[in-house]
Amino acid sequence: MTTPAFPDARILGVGMTRFTKTPDVSVEELGHCAVLEALSDSGLDRRDIGAVVCGTVQSHPGAGQALLKDLGMTGVPIVNVENACASGSTALIEGLAWIGAGLADIVLVMGVESLSGERGVVTLGSDDYVWGSGFVLPAAYALLASRHMSLYGTTREQFARVAVKSHRNAAANPYAHFRKAVTLEEVLASPMVADPITLFECCPRTDGAAAVIIGTEDAARRSANGNVRIAGAALASGLRSTTSDSVPELTRRTAGIAYERAGIGPKDVDVAEVHDAFAPGEIFYYEELGFCEEGKGGVYIDEGASEIGGDGVAVNPSGGLLSRGHPFGATGLAQIAELTWQLRREAGDRQVDGARVGLAHTMGGTIFELEANACAVHILTS
């Protein structure tokens, strides 16, 4: 079996709204802001866009068309995609496919979500057997966290340090939902959500939109910004599994494919945006993405390796899902926007010095008996 060539695609422009609670702003308005910012960043005209992919979970069907008609972007092919929390990342890999197939030379990829209208934990369908047992998402991560503690001696303080780092990074990010540093004591003393996960270790319900314009190398020459390349990407769905043990294994498999396509290994990564919907997740993903050995995720955070300026991979300089916020459809593209700014040296006070290789990782969904619905990994180089 031969491996098909990975499409040569560049990032031409990025844009996003500030992630926060804006219950009075429609998803269309959020989307307009992100799309116009990305177009302006790229220096391209809206008529240059050859195709559009829109990722969203809770918005209405036809969200992409509804949003773009008021920007005068009609007639262009528009695909709406849903892959739970990985919808934005999935939209990006779909856009890459359009470029690779020669169906468009410039693709607008966007993601929108408004979650501030939800109350309490975001639940699965009420008829779902798992939800019916009380298996809410923080509980899913709590089970994995307990197992990690039992197997490797990981501590609550190590999980809490992820939230401390995330809030500190977000304080320097004008696009972040939370912009205030917190102490280890405050994280540990915040209300318990699902033992060992406290409130400050859970991502908030956030509204927001993000947009990324990608194009061929030729198109990049016509753009104001075209020096960040998508060197590799992979999307996978979870294997059937009746245990929760192997959820992070999906990340290891997906990242392995993305690394191979990019010809890059985990040791080459300078900066990463990782799916830290709940703080323990970031510890698991240090290991599964290959940034450290299995079981050593707690030590990795203790040593400050994942800090901006640390001696490992700087993880979630934007504040991640925990502090930048997690509007499902927009999250994956906000990760790409952050990495693009990092690789272009435009990340201001949260800049990772010398960043040349960035990795974005998103998980999506929890259909029972599957590891997860989706995992997406993108690798960017400058």
């Binding site: 309490g120 934990v121 639940t123 798992v130 939800w131 019916g132 047992s133 009380g134 298996f135 809410v136 923080p138 509980a139 089970l143 307990s146 197992r147 039992s150 209300p191 318990m192 959500v193 699902a194 033992d195 009746t242 245990t243 929760s244 043990d245």
Partner: protein, 65 residues
Amino acid sequence: MAPPGFEVPYRLGWVDLDDGVRVFGRVLSADGADPMVGDRMALTTTVIRSNDEGGPIQGHAFTTS
């Protein structure tokens, strides 16, 4: 923290049966002590949550003996 109809706190876990099957379910403690990984469990039933009318919904659970 839980969806409507659940009394908090409650414990969830994966339990390995002797023949190798792993089953998800509510975990109870017979003596108030936290169940630990490796503890021997017994099958029982419990109220999982209440329905829209406030009536109990029963389900399987595992308990320390």
